[in-house]
């Protein structure tokens, strides 16, 4: 039974098949002559290049699809199929389009493992001697240095990936590899066209699997890695709420909790939803209470103003309540000038770090600003009134068009009173949605750790 990528490559020559060692004791056999590990991170200049796959010359026509196959019959363990020339067989300086797939089967594997394992392999590949890897899975740029041209083969690269995957995720039962290298003798880039088309579709399906929402899951995850420094702090990870360190996503958290039950990631049964807009869940409250030395009783995942999650201190950005306009400002670490609070980001970061619950303030990751739940409990983008111009430009595509021009930056003012006038003048949505009679109605924030008055 043919596998999908082979079907897509049906018009190409059948190529060659290699068999990798699959016995746990011999996974790494034969890799001794290739440097492995961090210090081998490579940048391969054109002059040093033996083979290039994809990259700007080919408009990045080089894909890598990593997917979990449900049919065990379609994954022959340790098989490497190569269509086209191998690395030592091309002339030095060759540049070609191509692609590879890593097909995995495991009785106990879930789609959640996919992101985890592909990241582990991607990271591992950064530490392969003479091997340069840039780009995203659907548009890669690979270069192989002349120094390793006679000892590195596609089978060896596959073996390295295989051994890494099998070691890190024991639930994997079988892995198979498919490489297509678009040399002229197999028909060049044109011959690969059906394969590229297949890969494009497959990539959409594969990556779409990761896009589920907080409502779709029953379990969130928590992380207490920073508690060694911020003793009361616990992060909550949901499909839409990335931790501001950006190190671990929901899927990775899930796999990590499963693979390493003694580790720092733990499961949070989300329990009853108490406030949908603000992201307030009973299960989350209970877990955070336990992990915060019983100091934080309640958190709202999508709010910066009321019961925000706590912060350790290494967040790359933060939101802050500006009472003069009853709105929320954003700033990031690289912004070194003043904010409308009259303090710089560094002081702001200092104020709200350490694991205390500071109503009105929240540490953020810049990537997290793209979430549809971003500060939803506070009014989302309709409540964002100020941000540094650099940040605004960087994330322009996630800011709703109707608000974009109305958000004030430091180029206009960093003075809260001037800000008020500007918002009024620009007709920022906050004026109608939150202000009364064109005047802001400042909230009196409770002190850190205290509750809001019952409404």
């Amino acid at each position: 039974m043919a596998v999908p990528e082979e079907e897509a490559a049906a018009r190409l020559p059948p190529g060659r098949v290699f068999q990798l060692p699959t016995d746990l004791e011999h996974l790494w056999d034969g890799l001794d002559d290739i440097g492995l590990g961090l210090r081998w991170l490579s940048e391969v200049k054109r002059a040093d290049m033996h083979l290039e796959l994809g990259g700007p010359k080919w408009d990045y026509k080089m894909f890598s699809i990593f997917y979990i196959e449900e049919d065990p019959g379609k994954v022959k363990d340790g098989e490497v199929r190569l269509i086209g020339p191998d690395i030592p067989e091309v002339a030095p300086g060759t540049s070609l389009p191509g692609g590879f797939t890593i097909r995995i089967y495991g009785e106990e594997l879930t789609p959640g493992h996919q992101g985890y394992v592909s990241r582990q392999i991607g990271t591992a590949l950064q530490g392969l001697e003479g091997f340069m890897l840039f780009g995203t899975p659907d548009s890669l740029w690979i270069r192989i240095n002349k120094d390793v041209a006679n000892k590195l083969t596609f089978a060896k690269i596959s073996q390295f990936c295989y051994a890494t995957a099998k070691t890190l995720v024991p639930q994997i039962d079988a892995v198979a590899f498919f490489w297509a290298v678009g040399a002229p003798e197999i028909g060049g880039v044109e011959a690969l066209a059906p394969l590229f088309a297949w890969a494009k579709e497959k990539y959409k399906i594969v990556s779409a699997k990761e896009l589920y929402d907080d409502e779709d899951v029953d379990t969130f995850y928590g992380c207490t890695i920073c508690k060694s420094l911020a003793p009361n702090h616990a992060c909550v990870l949901t499909p839409s709420a990335l931790p501001y360190c950006g190190i671990i996503g929901y899927d990775s958290a899930k796999v990590t909790a499963e693979l390493d039950p003694e580790g720092y990631v733990f499961t949070i049964p989300k329990g009853e939803c108490l406030d949908h807009e603000a992201g307030h869940y009973r299960g989350v409250d209970e877990a955070v209470y336990e992990k915060s030395n019983h100091l934080v009783k309640r958190v709202s995942i999508y709010s910066s103003v009321k019961y925000p999650t706590t912060n350790c201190g290494c967040f790359e950005a933060a939101s802050f309540y500006i009472p003069e306009v009853d709105g929320i400002g954003l700033a990031m670490r690289r912004y070194t000038r003043m904010t409308p609070l009259g303090i710089k980001f560094s002081s702001l970061a200092g104020m709200i770090s350490g694991g205390a619950q500071n109503h009105g303030f929240k540490g953020l990751s810049i990537a997290g600003m793209a979430s549809k739940n971003f500060l939803r409990g506070d009014g989302g983008w309709n409540r964002i009134v100020w941000m540094p111009s650099d940040l605004k430009r960087d994330i322009a595509d996630v800011i709703p068009e109707e608000v974009y021009d109305k958000i004030v930056t430091e180029e206009e003012t960093v003075d809260a009173l001037e800000l008020k006038e500007l918002l009024r003048k620009k007709g920022h949505p906050i004026v109608k949605m939150f202000w009364k009679n064109s005047e802001p109605q400042p909230l009196k924030l409770p002190l850190a750790g205290e509750d809001w008055p019952e409404q």
Binding site: L38, R39, T164, P231, D260, Y264, C312, S353, A356
Partner: protein
């Protein structure tokens, strides 16, 4: 009775007398610190304490915790004490008349060495400060830079003193405090009667005082003397700041121009000279060079300055005979540079505050007269006024026309080499850095200079070979001749020192360090007392291995010479210069040592730990959880002894090598086999918990560059390692051991808390060894049961609860750093 002063820490109202033992006279400052730098979350958990202008004893709890794990190990001990008139006492026979025992005497001597090191910097900082007080009003504002936050102050000063420095007057205040501390420590080093550990605690304090003095110097340099500072830059583009375009080395000196060289610690004469050159449009006409700290300083305010080499190699450099005028100030090590200048027919100006030889003091003579004297044939003068010294140097340089440098001829060198005693190896045997001198002599007798080219790179001109030579071969002249032969190619490009590291910049890589994507933050110090290729090799290896590297002092120019033939670039041209993986930051001269070990700064934002009068939590935290290590490679001067103590107290491991490690006589080493030493207090229960013997040593010697890297990998394993960082740190350690010694480190298994932390490519092998050699129960790549060091078999969750810290739980070695609710009740 004075009224109670209250500070608002977030929503808390705190009486300042609860956080400072005696706040009198400092009330406003304390309120300001508490209201700006205390974090409510931390304060309500841990309380707060500011050790304001502390004595050593005020911080001793931290010191004793460190020293109980890393007790002093003395080599080559002194047996007789002659410190007072009651002696001498032979302590090998028992206690002396004051009750001192032999080990305590070693502690005294160790403290004396640290004080000497601290003192050299203290004098230099005082010199700068006194001159600044003459030139600028004492209310002149000072800072490390205007744009980037260094937590808004100078941590090297504030962490010890608790003072927020804002003006020159404040600097005077903190330096006066430092001088007072130094006096107390010196007194103890002669008449103290404590234990060795007691003295070593004071050694650590001498280190902290040294950092304070360095901080004062750096702040003055940036605020008053126009030195470049990274904190005056925007973050964008900082990876190329300052640009790697500074030309240094012998071949960077433009021939035909007069050359003035400045040597030592005091850059003021050079600063005054450059000021004068700019006024008189002389910058194109005179070449300005520097050796040692002054060289590293000059290039921070004068982009045409040239660094020639470290201070310890100044005698060799002067004998090259290329300098028309040499301006000599006291430095980190005493050297007879006046004789070398005379030998090379260079005019010398001594600018020390005390005399040198029998030179009369010419400070009050008119400039013209001094210039006439030097131009007329006098060899050297003593001028204590930096402005006058600078002017005289320039005028003399323009008037004196010197011929070609006097270098031993090839024929003479070969003749001497031929006259050597065959089969004699004395020169090699006495060489403190183990250079193959005798082989070089044999080669030269056949006309081959190769051996001497190699010897020259490692030689710091101590002259021991020459003294030992029974054939009276003028080895140092030959070594200088070898250097001159290569001088035409001795040109390298580097970044000048950039001054401080900002917290903002550092935080960009905080997670990468925490998660092990950056295996280590490594700082390299060195004073030229080692083969310079070795220090460059170490730096390159670390950079290739993904580390974040910092250098300060003479090490900067030493590593800068490294040239990558394939890339056709010098080291600083190959790498960016910010706080990130594969970046190398040159902080500046010796005083910039106070910037170059920045990991503790991360604790302010991440843990809310204020950086004012607050050493214990910083030292405790880094010693348990910091992947920051210092390599001191070829660092002979006592100043480095004190600098090592300073950073050890702030939790870093210090690796000392190669040859200078023999001269240190005192190390602070751990013992992995003594399980009683390896414990922490659990932050949620207060109970003691056995942990892995990681961060095994505090100050430890190594002999080879390979050992240095292996020890480095060992030193970054730490109790608070996250899963991922433990994996990286183990992988780096195993890689080095496999590469250099073709074996696994013998104790690797003691660092295993979970199979999850074993590097993938070694995991199966390691798991099988855990079963076959250590009796663990395993299956494939998984560990099912672990055997505790006490012999008990445990499930992995039991093991996690009994060995090492659980992931993400606060821990400490100090009772005073437990959360308030546990502090009084935690068991001993």
């Amino acid at each position: 009775m004075k009224e109670k002063r209250i500070a608002h820490v977030g929503s808390l109202e705190v009486d300042i007398s609860e956080v400072v033992r005696d706040p009198r006279g400092h009330e406003d400052e304390i309120v300001e610190i508490m209201e700006n730098d205390f974090v409510e979350g931390r304060h309500s958990n841990f309380g707060g304490w500011i050790t304001l202008l502390p004595d050593a004893a005020d911080i001793a709890e931290l010191d004793y915790a460190l020293l109980s794990r890393y007790p002093p190990l003395y080599t080559d001990p002194e047996g007789v004490c002659t410190d007072c008139g009651l002696g001498p006492c032979n302590l090998e026979d028992g206690q002396g008349k004051c009750g001192l025992d032999m080990e305590a005497l070693q502690g005294r001597l160790s403290l004396r060495k640290a004080c000497r090191g601290c003192m050299t910097q203290m004098v230099a900082s005082r010199q700068l400060l006194d001159y600044a007080l003459k030139r600028w009003p004492e209310a002149t504002p000072v800072s490390m830079g205007e744009i980037l936050s260094i937590s808004d102050h100078a941590p090297a000063i504030s962490v010890l003193s608790g003072i927020h420095v804002k003006t020159i007057k404040d600097l005077n205040r903190v330096l006066t405090y430092g001088e007072g501390q130094l006096a107390k420590l010196f007194q103890a080093s002669y008449s103290g009667t404590g234990t060795a550990v007691n003295f070593e605690s004071m050694v650590l304090h001498a280190g902290s005082v040294l950092l304070l003095a360095m901080g004062v110097a750096e702040m003055l340099k940036i605020s008053c003397y126009g030195f470049i500072s990274a904190a005056n830059q925007q973050l964008d583009g900082i990876e190329q700041f300052p640009p790697a375009t500074l030309s240094c080395g012998w071949a960077s000196i433009e021939s035909g121009k007069p050359v003035v060289a400045f040597v030592g610690d005091d850059f003021l004469p050079a600063w005054c000279a450059v000021d004068q050159m700019k006024q008189d449009a002389l910058t194109e006409k005179i070449e300005i060079c520097g050796l040692g700290a002054t060289g590293d300083d000059i290039v921070r305010f004068y982009d045409r300055g040239r660094i020639i080499g470290p201070a310890v190699r100044a005698p060799k450099a002067i004998r090259n005979g290329l300098f028309d005028v040499v301006v000599i100030s006291p430095g980190c090590v005493p050297l007879d540079l006046l004789s070398e200048a005379e030998r090379a027919e260079s005019k010398a100006i001594w600018v020390g505050h005390n005399g040198s030889g029998d030179l009369p003091d010419s400070t009050d003579q008119p400039i013209d007269r001094i210039v006439d004297r030097l131009a007329g044939g006098e060899k050297a003068v003593w001028i204590r006024d930096p402005e006058k010294a600078g002017k005289v140097a320039l005028q003399v340089a323009l008037r004196v026309k010197r011929g070609a440098p006097r270098i031993i001829s090839d024929a003479d060198a070969m003749k001497q080499a031929k006259g050597h005693k065959h089969d004699c190896d004395l020169c090699t045997m006495v060489c403190p850095v183990g250079l193959p001198v005798s082989r070089a002599v044999r080669q030269l007798s056949g006309g081959d200079w190769t051996g001497f080219f190699e010897v020259e790179k490692g030689c710091n001109f101590c002259g021991k070979c020459e003294q030992a030579c029974p054939s009276q071969v003028h080895l140092r002249d030959i070594i200088v001749a070898a250097e001159r032969k290569g001088a035409g190619n001795d040109k390298f490009v580097m970044r000048p020192g950039r001054g401080p590291i900002s917290i903002t910049e550092l935080l960009q890589s905080a997670f990468a360090v925490g998660w092990g994507s950056i295996p280590a933050m490594v700082t390299i110090f060195g004073c030229g007392d080692a083969h310079r290729d070795e220090i460059a090799w170490i730096a390159s290896e670390l950079l290739n291995g993904g580390c974040m590297v910092f250098v300060a002092g003479c090490a900067g120019a030493e590593v800068a010479r490294s040239f990558n033939q394939a890339k056709k670039k010098h080291l600083f041209q190959q790498y960016n210069a910010t706080c990130a993986s594969r970046n190398i930051v040159n902080c500046g001269s010796c005083s910039a040592i106070c910037h170059a070990v920045p990991m503790y700064l991360m604790l302010r934002p991440s843990g809310g730990i204020p950086l004012f009068g607050n050493l214990p939590p910083l030292g405790d935290s880094i010693s348990l959880g910091g992947a920051q290590t210092i390599i001191l490679w070829g660092a002979l001067p006592d100043r480095m002894y004190a600098a090592a103590a300073a950073w050890a107290r702030l939790g870093s491991t210090i690796i000392v090598g190669p040859a200078s490690s023999l001269g240190w006589k005192r190390y602070l080493v751990g013992n992995r086999y003594d399980r009683s030493k390896w414990w922490v207090r659990h932050g949620e229960t207060g109970k003691r918990r056995e942990v892995e013997p990681v961060k095994e040593h505090m100050v430890v010697p190594v002999e080879t560059k390979e050992e240095a890297l292996t020890m480095l990998a060992r030193s970054v394993l730490n109790v608070r390692d996250y899963r991922e960082s433990r994996l990286t740190h183990l992988e780096v350690l195993i890689d080095y051991c496999e590469r250099f010694y073709q074996q696994l480190p013998e104790d690797w298994w003691l660092a295993v808390r979970s199979d999850f932390e074993l590097p993938p490519r070694y995991r199966r092998h390691m798991v099988s060894l855990l079963e076959s050699e250590h009796g663990w129960e395993t299956e494939g790549v998984k560990v099912n049961k672990a055997r505790h060091r006490d012999g008990r078999m445990m499930t992995m969750s039991e093991f996690a609860a009994n060995y090492g810290m659980e992931q993400g739980i606060y821990c400490t070695r100090l009772r005073s750093l437990l959360p308030l609710r546990l502090r009084d009740t935690a068991e001993d």
